[in-house]
Symmetry: C2
Subunit: 204 residues, 2 copies
DNA sequence: CGGGCCGCATGACATCTGTCATACGGCACT
DNA sequence: AGTGCCGTATGACAGATGTCATGCGGCCCG
């Protein structure tokens, strides 16, 4: 029989990361050979340890798990990619798939699915929650332009139009125009709702 | 030597919960005797299993880990309480302590601290991050009145003044006054920032 | 009993925000 | 060459939001 599956674990919360490592450690055929707590340490660690599967949390400092996935996919295409996230946002699933992910798991799925997903992706299968896949397809693509997203992101923490304009090197009127179109595209009433909805959909 | 320490684990994300259980399962002297995924199932499970220590995540459906802690503290005062959270918000620490928690851990602390905290609280010790404790003391108490908190919470998802007034059975002017005083107390410029800051401090 | 804070309210005012029309250059697709 | 979208900008306008002064009744504390 073949040797153990070598896994890289990327997750910023140490306690969760080490707990997941403990969980995977219980499996005979899986070995966690590297752990990192930042997105921007993923590639280096993957190179250093010759991993079979990378398990990537999305929310991480440095860069997101999705960005890390895209990078790995480009640099080490033979590494299988499992994206793990707290939030089952359809937009996340879409981005993860575009980044070359082989599996997409949400953290409130049963723990058994984790080891299972690792084995499946190594066998060439793709693993995604059918409900989430349906939601991602139903919702359609992100309607926001890059600029609209930038403005929304910057507006998220309560900045005023003048501050947004300064931060993005735009005129105040332009900022208002972008916010206005974003608000209309998302069918909401103000910037706060727009930020909330865009976040929920994973469009931000 | 004494028998194993019986632990109840409350955490809504199955994968994290089972991973933490796996982690604790590696310790010879600790046994996870019950797992729940909702705050409002904690008391019942604790009663059913005669637990020594309850490990409570804060963010849970049903009721928060802090509310569950307060309930356990009242109903089963001999059970030791460890509160676990993603966010190291000083206000959370304060509330947890007021609810009778014996330990307060953030999830980005090393995993080893978890088992250690379980043993320590059982030995009658209290476990809190000194940095966080300092922050909680430095920041002072929540300056917001109950009404101000209500209005901020309701305003968080982008409701308009008219909607807030209707939802809270207040006049529109009163809503604006509350928001205005909250904005001043938090030393910010608008409601969105006020919500953000209040959240960060755990005052919401 | 008086002072102070809270909850609640109103009115006036200044500023911020959202909408709309309009404009121009660039780029892509037909 | 024409159409359409994007990025950028302006000006005008209506409505939402934030500030301030002021008022009243209730409650607690000294």
């Amino acid at each position: 029989m073949s040797s153990t599956i070598k896994v890289l674990l990327a997750e910023d919360q140490s306690m969760v990361r080490e707990a997941l490592a403990a969980l995977l450690g219980l499996e005979e055929d899986i070995e966690v050979v590297a752990q990192v707590g930042r997105g921007d340490e993923v590639l280096e660690a993957a190179r250093a340890h010759d991993v079979d599967v990378a398990l990537l949390d999305i929310e991480m400092p440095g860069c997101t798990g999705i960005e890390a996935a895209a990078l790995l996919h480009r640099e080490l295409p033979e590494v299988k990619l499992v994206v793990l996230t707290t939030f089952g946002r359809p937009g996340y699933l879409r981005s993860a798939m575009e980044a070359g992910a082989d599996a997409f798991l949400v953290k409130d799925a049963p723990a058994a699915q984790l080891a299972e997903a690792v084995r499946k992706v190594l066998a060439g299968e793709r693993v995604i929650d059918p409900t989430l896949a349906a939601a991602a397809l139903a919702e359609g693509a992100n309607p926001l332009t890059e600029r609209e997203r930038q403005v929304l992101r910057a507006a998220a923490d309560g900045r005023t139009n003048a501050e947004l304009a300064k931060a993005l090197h735009l005129s105040q009127g332009t900022v208002r125009n972008y916010l206005s179109t974003a608000i209309q595209k998302l069918a909401v009433r103000n910037r706060t709702e727009a930020v909330r909805i865009a976040r929920e959909k994973g469009w931000l």
